[in-house]
Symmetry: C2
Subunit: 304 residues, 2 copies
DNA sequence: AACATTGATACCCATCTTGTATCAATTGAT
DNA sequence: ATCAATTGATACAAGATGGGTATCAATGTT
């Protein structure tokens, strides 16, 4: 097979139609250029140039081959540049998984941030529950996860990206809906709508722990998987719920959210998790960008 | 710049993800493959493979580069094949010029012949007068001409591709329209519609020569450039005309064509002309095909 | 613990590539 | 007509490159 160097020589020669001038442009002397062209013609098995001792012109085959060669060379430098970009993390593609609720709280600003700083990185977003994300992370099917702690996997690093207060959710028709704050004691004797232990272990453990610590016992517990579904039940008058602050963004009209008194010091965390070692530099770029962004925001919050 | 050999090595390695197996597939030993990959990574300035002493896997940059490399290699073999095809004359593009009338008589069968035998040759057809074709041929703007003789140009070879009888054209309302044959004497005292000396020197010389030899003198001569326009005038009753047999294909309803008596031995020739030396093998293929076709047809005619 | 397999390295040799010097052929100027 | 200049091709020596064999260190496997 011919060489890219030969193609480069031929393309230049096809433009100049003069061996010496072409050789000068190629920063080489004329004899090796002649030899390259001869080798190329021998390789293809056809005359690419019509030389008649004084002038050089392209044959039909040569004209076609010059165009094709130029295209190959263009693609070569393109491959070079693109690969360097991907290696540097300025381009590429990453897959980010996220919990349903974080699509209201954190994902929109993340997308905006990436679009602004890394427009050449293609994003694939996949909504998954925290257990699903842990499995996907362990098998390296996703680059970055946005999930609920804890992340007990080896070779994974995590950063907290969001910390929220808890809110009490009550039906709009409920007598407590008129209060500005709702004490956790008020849940006693009411139906608690909350997260199931398997699909939402983090919230489940947090909510049940909260009630146990406060010695409050709901009359019944209704398990539902997603926050927006829980709030839908609350709006329908099924019962009360404890949800993170970002649930405001997906609360239906029939559900009222109020600050929860008696749960101070308990927060809902959203963490970003990713493999410590990755073969995808775009992932590293995104992680660095997010952490820098969070640090800047933390400093801003501290200063104010 | 990297080498196509390196790309070939890398693509194979990216498929196998094992140096020894890849080397075997590439018909080389493992050490030079390792060196090629190292050289490639050094050239690009990025790690394409993540090797951890026991397993090899592609980095994000490597995966992208493997796809791009495959594309480059595909295009290289494509360029190779296509150029060989063009050089052999099995593919390519040719420009054929032709006189208006030959588009009825000869060009359709020519196109059909080429489509059948050389489907990969792209045709460009340009209708031109004979003098225009001679100029285009001299400046090598066309590969093959279909025109009227003589072709007095150096380094051009010609072949007669069509020889036709002459017909007399009279208005359908004319008294001669009822005859089965029309003698050239009958033109005497009538208006002759015929070709002008500059744009149609061949027909002009032929027709005027014919009348001079027969000693027949029309009452007036009306010059018009194209055969179909001449027949249009005849149909409109302007006068009579002498046209080649193939004019039947473009005769309007108001014009009647009859064998011309008294012009035996005078024929209309259509010749194919092309440069003796061409850089376009497709042109040579077409010429050879046409001449073989004509020879076959001549033998057939002789036999019958 | 012995063994097999992995990719990387050292070294040798054949081949290829390059540059200098030169040639034969052709053109243009005088 | 003749001479100088320019064209692409060729010869040859020096250096660079590519491939092969033998081998190594590291890591799983039995």
């Amino acid at each position: 097979m011919f060489t890219l160097v030969q193609l480069r020589c031929f393309v230049t020669l096809a433009e100049e139609l003069n061996f010496r001038r072409a050789a000068r442009r190629l920063n080489m002397s004329q004899p090796p250029l002649s030899r390259h062209i001869q080798a190329l013609e021998h390789e293809i098995g056809a005359a690419l140039l019509a030389r008649n001792r004084r002038s050089v012109q392209l044959t039909a085959a040569g004209a076609s081959f010059a165009r094709l060669s130029q295209r190959i060379l263009d693609q070569a430098v393109d491959a070079y540049r693109q690969t360097r970009q991907i290696a540097s993390g300025d381009a590429g593609e990453i897959t980010i998984s996220f919990t349903a609720l974080s699509s209201y709280a954190f994902v929109p600003s993340l997308i905006a941030l990436l679009r602004k700083h890394y427009p050449a990185i293609a994003l694939t977003l996949r909504e998954m529950t925290t257990p699903q994300q842990l499995a996907a992370l362990a098998s390296r099917q996703v680059d970055i996860c946005l999930l609920r702690p804890p992340v007990a996997l080896p070779n994974i690093r995590t950063t907290r990206v969001l910390r929220e207060r808890l809110l009490a959710a009550v039906p709009a028709k409920h007598r407590l809906a008129k209060r500005r704050h709702i004490n956790i004691d008020e849940f006693g004797g009411n139906v608690l709508v909350t997260y199931p232990p398997v699909e939402g272990p983090y919230f489940h453990g947090m909510v049940t722990g909260l009630f146990q610590a406060a010695g409050v016992y709901p009359s019944a517990i209704q398990y539902i998987t997603q926050t927006h579904a829980i709030l839908g039940c609350v709006a329908a008058g099924v019962g009360m719920a404890v949800v993170p602050e970002s649930a405001k963004a997906c609360a239906p009209a029939g559900a009222v959210l109020r600050p929860l008194v008696g749960a101070e010091g308990v927060h809902v965390d959203l963490v970003m998790a990713s493999p410590i070692e990755t073969t995808n530099p775009a992932s590293a770029s995104v992680l660095a960008l997010v952490e820098k962004h969070l640090a800047g925001r933390a400093r801003g919050a501290q200063a104010s």
